[in-house]
Subunit: 204 residues, 2 copies
């Protein structure tokens, strides 16, 4: 789980931090676009240089390798301000989350799919992906703690297990089984999980 | 889901079908070993020829490409006689299934991981993986129909959704989040899913 791994992780020119931050934003946007359009195999420093307009010597000095660029793309996603929707109820919060996961997964070209593919081939990308997913799980825990505070869930509900139950069928279906999933199906995983959680399925 | 993608999908010399079937068994065993030990990038017709002892001209004539070898490995897994354990109760059937998935996923070197990685890079491998997983889901449906027959589950329980709920957290954790999972955790996804199913969570 969860949330888009966005092709444009940093807003770019408007981002504070001056020239160095702008260069990073331009480069990482180019990395995301290259990955999504051409895949990990075709990702090269030279291609990123050409697409970003940043000189290749700058790229070689600052990132050194393609894997370092990919890791930085994932790290930049951890820097963003993404937070799960606060709809006022567990079921609708989980529906909103699953719709986001589904939309990001079905994006064409898909940065998320390219990053997952890269994680099978580069230990650095795999480690960065673990950190990114863990970061997303931590941000989403608030969906569960809010529901506990509203009295919808037992106080000892485990946020991580609940979120895994809601989202992992989407990842499995879309990335491993490689079959489509309708929005209604994604919603149903959310509602089924919420009902099970309310019945105590994810108590510690 | 589910079940080992085994490095030795065919029993080999004892298999009926004569020389052609023996050649296929030797070749596919070599493909699985090459994949698991060296990965998709290093998979070549010549490497498979060297490992299997089958002449490369035979390989080029019969399979033509590396992707065709990989697809045939997955097809051969569909030919096997694997069936889920019949332990007499839904919870223990799902525990047995999840333990098999976990064991296959944690195998080192992992054919399952290599096949998933290849599916991100070869459309033919991706399609074969979809067929393999669908085949496994179909074989596992009997776990659910047996539980319905025993009166453990509502008659309109959807086998596919129930099996997805039980197994997809394992795939997500082990292959996408890339974190370990204890046997106790795998068991718990089985027991949580069984309890939810008995409460009607996966009714059509």
């Amino acid at each position: 789980m969860t949330s888009p791994v966005d092709a444009t992780p940093l807003p770019g020119p408007a981002r504070p931090g001056g020239r160095s931050a702008r260069v990073r934003a331009d480069v990482l946007r180019a990395v995301g676009e290259e990955l999504a359009e051409r895949g990990y195999d075709a990702l090269t420093i030279d291609a990123v240089a050409a697409r970003s307009g940043v000189h290749r010597t700058t790229l070689y000095r600052r990132w050194k390798t393609v894997d370092a660029l990919l890791v930085d793309l994932l790290e930049a996603n951890r820097d963003d301000t993404w937070a799960p929707a606060d709809t006022g109820a567990l079921t609708t919060d989980l529906i909103a989350l699953n719709r986001e996961v589904r939309t990001a997964a079905l994006e064409e070209p898909s940065v998320m799919s390219a990053v997952i593919a890269a994680s099978f081939r580069s230990p650095a990308a795999a480690a960065a992906q673990t950190r990114l997913l863990d970061d997303r799980y931590e941000r989403c825990a608030v969906v569960v703690t809010r529901a506990i505070a509203r009295g919808e869930l037992p106080a000892d509900t485990d946020p991580h297990r609940l979120l895994m139950a809601a989202t992992s069928p989407l990842y499995h279906q879309l990335f491993l089984r490689r079959q489509p999933m309708t929005e209604a199906e994604a919603d149903r995983w959310a509602t089924t999980t919420a009902a099970a959680a309310e019945a105590g399925a994810f108590q510690a």
